[in-house]
Amino acid sequence: MPESASTYSPQVDALYFYLSGVTVFFTLLISIVLIFFVVKYRRRSLYEIPRPIAGSHKLETLWSVVPFLIAMSMFAWGAQIYFHQYRSPKNADEIYVVAKQWMWKIQHSTGQREINELHVPVGRKIKLIMTSEDTIHDFFVPAFRMKADVLPGRYTTQWFEATKPGTYHLFCAEYCGMNHSGMIGSVIVMQPTDFDNWLSGNASQQAPSVAGQQLYESLGCVSCHGARGEGGRGPSLVGIFGRKVFLTNGQTLTADESYIRESIENPQARLVSGFGPIMPTFQGQVSPEQLIQLMAFMKSLQVTGPQSPSPATTVAPPAAAETSRAPTPSAAAPTPR
């Protein structure tokens, strides 16, 4: 067995033992019965013809239903642990991962950057937000029994809680070209005090949210979205992550990293209801790491009070509320800049 170093590992291993047990049982059963029959009923005279046996509905039912039930038990158990592990907990620490041929670039929200190494403390929930700069990669830590594909143009997430200090393999597990087998590294799990030492010992780099704010200003986002993200000609960005957004085409979605990225690169694709198609595209001007910094900044924006209008606070149906903020101003709208 590989090292078991996360809260998820024992669950997977338990299920694996169950599956192995069932497999060994049935393999032995079939093999032994096979060998037994083959020896006991070996041909004794050249042209003998045994009595034909047509079948038995009872037996057929038995060995359809029983395997089906066993299969269902495997399915249910597997689905259950998978489902629990799939959704990242809300209070997890976020770490950004950018994969590129053939290295892992890791960015802690406190500013530390790592290449091919990921330092984490024991006992804390860590959520990885991952994207790729080129091909599909896969962030695989066998000791945690975790892997997830890392896609270009999209953010995928996985989370874990490490349980044992140590150094564990990190592999790329989706073929990505020449140096695929070289795209490996380590996840280093430390006791909390050691981790804090490591944090402070590391050359303190700018936190991504600070870098993000600088970008926010230099790219001109302020002019429509406000200095504190409160909105204006453009929608408010305060508390945007996880918020329901109403679109011009009548649909609703929950804003996540992928939606924010799309809005920066292709603003008119899914436009917030009530706003005109005036945002320019920043495709090609913002690298994946800069996108991460902008998002970190947005996540850091606090709700500053009732003067930041957002669709969630209006009671009237969205269309009516948003038209009140259309080019014809009304009393409820903030003063456009």
Partner: protein, 565 residues
Amino acid sequence: MQAPETFETPAAERVNYLNAQYGLKSWLLTKDHKRIGLLYLGSISFFFLIGGLYAMFIRLELLTPQGDFLSSATYNKVFTQHGIIMVFFFLIPSIPATLGNFLVPLMIGAKDLAFPRINLLSWYIYLLGGIITIYALLAGGIDTGWTFYVPYSTTFSNSYVIATGAGIFISGFSSILTGLNFIVTIHTMRAPGMTWFRMPLFIWAHYATSLIMILGTPVIAITILLLAFERLAHVGIFDPANGGDPVLFQHLFWFYSHPAVYIMVLPGMGIISELIANFSRKNIFGYSFVAFSSLAIAVFGFLVWGHHMFVSGQSVYAGMVFSFLSFAVAIPSAVKVFNWTATLYRGSISYDTPMLYALGFIGLFTIGGMTGLFLATLGVNVHTTDTYFVVAHFHYVMVGGTLLAYMGGLHYWWPKITGRMYPEGWGRFSALVVFVGFNLTFLPQFIAGYLGMPRRYHAYPPEFQVFNVLSSAGASILGVGLLIPLIYLIWSMRYGRRAEANPWHLPGLEWRTPSPPPTENFLVTPLVTWEAYEFAPPEELRVIGVFKEDESLENADAVIDGRPT
């Protein structure tokens, strides 16, 4: 009672499909399904050798943790090409195009397949696809993995993606035409009295396989076309920068490639049904259950493709549906395994080479199938996907399953195809060597995979070395075990003991005609009045339409159905 001196005895050299006409043209322009089956046998064996050569390079490289035997770029091409050749040019056509082509008309009492010229065309199409792919390999090769995932294959690979894709695209039509031919033949050309439920299970298996071939192959055709156009024109259908979706490619690819694995294994299961029944001289336990399970596998096989994509970013709910259905598709296969085992109960079992392969199949397919359940289990799949666990699983079902069935079938029907027997002692010996070598090669890979060794790795951390060394050792034994039959089968075509019409004394229609058969298969149209696997003493299992002294039909008693009147 002694069989009379007629077509039963092997002494005379009669006119049969092999010597009816001589010359290259008579082979290259043949319409005889039996000759076409042999043409396929030759070309498929050729591709198997090439694929096997690539496998040898893989195992040699993986003896050591460092990438010291091949460069990284070369290794990536080697495993890609191993996969492509083995999947598209060996496993998918092997049993249907060789044994299926040869036996389907014989087993149902027809003179040929429904469309003989289309049958020949399908061989030429297969060759054309194969030649184009070989050109791509020689020109520089391809390194995308046999799964061609985008965006690597559309944007980043500098290898011969389009040429290889063209080769596979073209050979797909060969598959479609073969499936079409089988379906029409089985529906419309069965001999009088051969009802659906009197058909051998080999036919049921090929019918189910043909359904998959015609429904699934067009989808991989369009997928490869889209891939090629994307590589040429960069419109962005799979490119996120242009609004496309790389995961769309995976859905399209696996929609065919999962049913494709059932194209590979169902014909093998058909062979196993024949071998188990005939070498224990008992009808298959639960015949209709086995027949319907083939159809069930074909249908359900189209619903489970997402189990290759649990970690791809697809939604958790889609994952649950695919996981559930993947368990469902395992049940018909389990039923078959139980039915085969039950058939042996109170049978009269002989230990001939084909039976050894069949018994090996049952054991290895059980392991391969059950490890598939590991991969269908969501929680475990996250850890084991893209590792050597998967590699071990699919080699168990493909090699331990399909290849063993193919070898068993080849030996079983060898006397019918060539009119000669293979040397039984060597046959049993190599079956054993294959079984041992195979397990030694792939059992350690399950462990390496669960420990975390990813697949498609050219170099690996040293703690995985012991498993790789065991695996490579096993591979050399497996290679030897497969080379020996190559030698003695070819040897037997010239020097083997001549076989009589029914050397195994079996009731199947293919045994009721001389070995090798005449070009028109049967001397007269058979009239089937017996059930599948209805065994009888040898004097009741004579060649149909042949009688006493001078073998002329004018003097014949009407022993059309093989039983004395």
